[in-house]
Symmetry: D2
Subunit: 393 residues, 4 copies
């Protein structure tokens, strides 16, 4: 109590961890049940059913008890066998990063890359698969959050499927905020988390696994078993009659339960629409304020995250600091190659509501003005936000 | 809403997940901050300092973002190098289980085992180390929860230390409920979790790592890095200026923060004492009710868990079911070799208060009576609980 | 932080304020809405509908925004006109107390009283009404909590109704814990609160008002209007289109909303049954432990509160203090004439579950033993509790 | 569950009930204690001490258990004796309203009124007191919320004090948001509530009572006693050893406790400053957007509420509806004489942070644009808000 605590920010407009819905915070404060208590077993089964409904999938999901990096590492470790050639699709830092895990388990990783403000095309993927028919698994980061760009998952998935390959999709920060579902994109392992567009805290991973992926993992002697990295161990854990491989994160399940109720009650398409409207308003405002988007073209910009190019000569930490100090607004920095080059405004879960774009645009533009950047027009930015909101009522 | 939900139990008197303190539930419902927000960075550093104070240790702790099985697997993967010989001390299911992980990474695992209702002795450990001077690392499960027995950690630690070996200690379900601290027992990796005697939900691991252990892990080329299983990645994460290897579980940190405030404010010795008093009252009641403890001798019985032998012919699930249905009380089953042979009453965190032994003894004895076991005396059991409580006021 | 805080008790087994359901605590933590926000207006209407369903009544209820003493004073002030003669039925402290309010507004208050461990009869009431045909209003305290006794509301209500008089019923601490509903007992003003058997905090009153009572109040020029004491002001406040006379207690409404969901979902008869079972087990235990009930006969003892006579020479505060210090259990004292003569164990809301009678009987008996009262048998008490529970499974 | 629920608003920028601080919501979810439990008695005393510190007063406060209309009615009923002449100062709807209560208890009410967009002066008050030396009590509404204007309490208080009269001050919606404290303004009864600038839900009143006021109330035979309207009954309730006149609102006290910790920890002057900065930014934005303030002069505009004149021909409900529907923002309507003529933006408690003026100005201006009001400039409004914020960093 000796140090004056740093006050909490007023608006957490980040790309994760994100602000949680009030009902999720109340969910977190539910009593903690014993994992083998019948009430918890029934709840766990019910939550899995809700995930399946949210996935609109034909088979039960898998919940892993760590934030989605766990699921991505586990997917690499489980699906990729020693002799496999992997096609890793790279349009940003996270896509690139998956390649390191893939390389740990594969015979060879072939990379198809585009600049980090661009996205991949299905044609290029098809071409890469034609060149190397020995590729077994393709990995795609759908929304490369550090760039705020969206790859055409449906088209790429169709190409991969047509070629008879398995597909791992990282949809961590896009699922729940736009139309991306495991089966329509032919994902064999589809990884997401409740801590982005579902408005939960980080701590869990949600997976869809196709029958083909289950078979390949079962057949892989090196796929983790009796390990935190195992997906196989959890295959039947959704059934109330089955044991847990280890103790599940009870309170995170309570949070997820509350979040799924919100999501399913509001309706997924309605949720996606407000993510899209918020991002559209934000982009309109950012441009009108005199700033540029990071994405090469607006049509590839994410509906769940707007990446804004930082003007020359501006230090990103100084910018984020002034935004927080003056307006109480927290936005995300870039990562690795994009660090220092952009800031990211999240539109995820509870903050995916258009009015937040007023706050984010005004705060970012205001922060740049305070740093004496020329040509910034807060008023024009906010007017454009309002116009965008009003045009989509 | 179609199925009538199973009502929550009234008393969760388990060995984990355990009932959480009300203040911990309120901690869980704090707003979710961005992990790189300065307020969260400061909080994370402060929480680490509180863990260090709770550990009474001279160096900062490590927090891993998964429940303690993660830390135990990570400890095996990180500390054990390919050429190592490991001495695995086995007095129960969890001690035995660690051997499987050890075997995955070691050249050889030597096992020193006792029956699962007994504990190891420092002499036997010293003898084993003399026999096999090539042993590099010793692994001890301090409180083998599925047996409810406590190994003499201080004495064993001294023996291991005298022999110049490294020691991994699983104190998951004993730390916070009794006098077991990393440095006095010469633990090189000390693993515990907030989800037992600290009264938090499962989802984090707390580790103390000695300088020698850090050196060995740094020197181990196979120690996990850039992995959920890495301890090394998190070495400096407690510093507010350092990045997180991946997104920490923000809400679990909020819960831990609240739990540590309770623990440090009440005072560790006071907390240990109420765990001890609760267990003593429970054991007195169990015996007076006509039942037997699982532990071979009462002095090795855990202050955080009372394992009660199930009378011949009684099905443990039937017993736990009747206890829950009639009295709303949930207790833990055994695990693996002890499954079906005992039930376990947890005295952990908020339930480590003597009055709960009234409830547990009456419920267990009442359940057995309802199953028509002869020779059960609820009244005598409860009277003994009361006498025990009254004698230690 | 300078003074060591007094720790919270472990079990609050009182007659009000009572322990709240966990879901009610979560309800309390809902965001606070503006009272004229459409979402709150809709919620307020919905909560009123739920109260009406809980009352099983044919007309909308009234919610007043203060704990039930407000409603009782308001009932006296509103229904009793200057020229009225009132029959006040007295079987305890609260019934007696209503007479003081009645006297403030009436021409004359006639009292029909029985000893405070007895209850009234419908015959005596009918007789009293025959003697004084000028009586306009009868007042009955259904459950006189300081005595833990239940008057025969249905029979008395029938007698009052047959005589053509209006009836005010204080059912504050019985409604929700037993079969007492406004219309079957012919109550013209029926007062209860969420802070007893519904398991909410204190802060609201719930009223049923008959058409005859509305007419009498409307016709009474002295009935409070534009006052905190007004019932009339709130007549239509349950309609989403109507203004509030003053700002409602938003968070208390959130709590009530959650409590009514629990009550209606569990089913009122199921709730009443567990109150009855808990009280029956408690009474069995108290008697077997060597103690006496305050109620003259067990059949008039309340299902929501067990009043236990304190043995000669025992100081009630000393007793309650030792019970809290040793066992963490809080019970209620008597009030006014019953203060010092009895202690009261509440069976209300979440504590109206039989297992709590284990705790209460053991704690009360244990406390008396600690005070060296002779002839107390904790074991026998608890055995009788268990037998009672088991016999009603 | 049949009707689709109305979604909660995103921003509650009202003048009460107001948005509560997250820590207050967590405070509300604390377990409910028995009012006579020693832990609650100690907490109640501590909360009173915190109120006294917040009041910076020399004597203990009084907490009444209903929202501040209770305290205002109680003040009239208690302090005003049958023979008293009252000077009621009127600059708005609430000041006018107090006169009705005063008239209920006084011999005569003299009114000194100004238009509802103006404020009173100390000179006028002094003059009124000179004219009628038989005046016993003066009543002042410090912040007439329906007008958003602030009367000069210190000057008026000095004039009343110099004339030897008693002063009742309604500071419900100003205390905690600006420099208004009971003793510096010579208030004999000072009424406020936690549900405005302290960021709590409605349900309590906080009073300061001078020694002279206590004497007058004690001497007043008609001052309520044994009534919800009594102030006298609660005089010593702040002492842990004294009984409560009736059951206090335990959860509201928990909320207040949390709110006072926030207030005292942040420091009252810091809190007042952010209320002032928020209002200044709001007023700047409103004017720049092409709108007018309700207050005749900006220097009398409240730092806790900005009342904005509604342009001719615009329906206030239509305006508030469109603001909520499009932007999720809730603002307050006017009341009585000001209803339909203005809308009010609250700057109270958690929303008294400058960034919220971005939201409120954009939303109000946007709403009017949507209703096709000419001459509205959202961009200019928001730019002015930003400039105001930036100028006061």
């Amino acid at each position: 109590m000796s140090k004056k605590p740093i006050p909490d920010p007023i608006f957490t407009l980040t790309t994760g961890p994100v602000d949680a819905y009030p009902a999720v915070l109340r969910g977190l404060s539910r009593p903690v049940l014993y994992d083998y208590d019948p009430a918890f077993l029934a709840q766990y089964e019910a939550v899995n059913e809700k995930v399946q409904r949210a996935f609109r999938s034909s088979t039960p999901p898998v919940i892993l008890h760590g934030e989605p990096v766990l699921a991505l590492e586990a997917a690499a470790a489980s699906l990729i066998a020693k002799g496999d050639v992997i096609l890793n699709l790279v349009s940003g830092v996270y896509g690139k990063g998956f390649g390191y895990w893939a390389a740990r388990y594969a015979k060879e990783v072939v990379e198809l890359a585009v600049p980090y403000n661009e996205v991949l095309t299905a044609d290029a993927v098809a071409e890469a698969l034609r060149k190397r028919p020995d590729i077994a698994v393709v990995a795609l980061c759908h929304h490369d959050t550090p760039s705020g760009t969206i790859n055409p998952a449906k088209e790429i998935g169709a190409a991969v499927h047509a070629a008879g390959k398995l597909l791992i999709v990282d949809a961590v920060s896009s699922f729940g905020g736009m139309d991306v579902l495991p089966e329509p994109i032919h994902a064999d392992i589809f990884v997401t988390g409740p801590n982005k567009c579902l408005g939960c805290p980080p701590g869990l991973s949600l997976l869809h696994v196709s029958e083909a992926a289950w078979e390949k993992m079962e057949a892989n002697p090196d796929a983790p078993r009796a390990s935190i990295l195992s997906i196989l161990d959890w295959r039947r854990a959704h059934e109330a009659t089955q044991p847990f491989p280890f103790t599940p994160s009870v309170s995170e399940i309570n949070a997820l339960d509350a979040a799924l109720d919100l999501y399913l009650c509001e309706g997924d398409e309605a949720v996606w629409q407000r993510h899209a409207r918020t991002a559209a308003a934000c982009r309109a405002g950012i441009k009108a304020a005199g700033l540029s988007l990071w994405a090469a073209r607006e049509e590839i910009a994410s509906p769940t995250c707007t990446a804004v190019r930082i003007p020359e000569g501006i230090d990103e930490l100084a910018l984020r600091t002034i935004i927080r100090d003056r307006y109480g607004v927290v936005v995300s920095s870039g990562r690795a190659e994009t660090l220092g080059k952009l800031i990211r405004i999240g539109h995820m879960g509870p903050t995916a509501r258009p009015v937040y774009s007023l706050v984010s645009v005004a705060a970012v533009a205001g922060g740049l003005q305070a740093l004496e950047v020329k040509g910034i027009d807060v008023g024009a930015g906010v007017s454009a936000v309002m116009k965008s909101i009003d045009s989509t009522v």
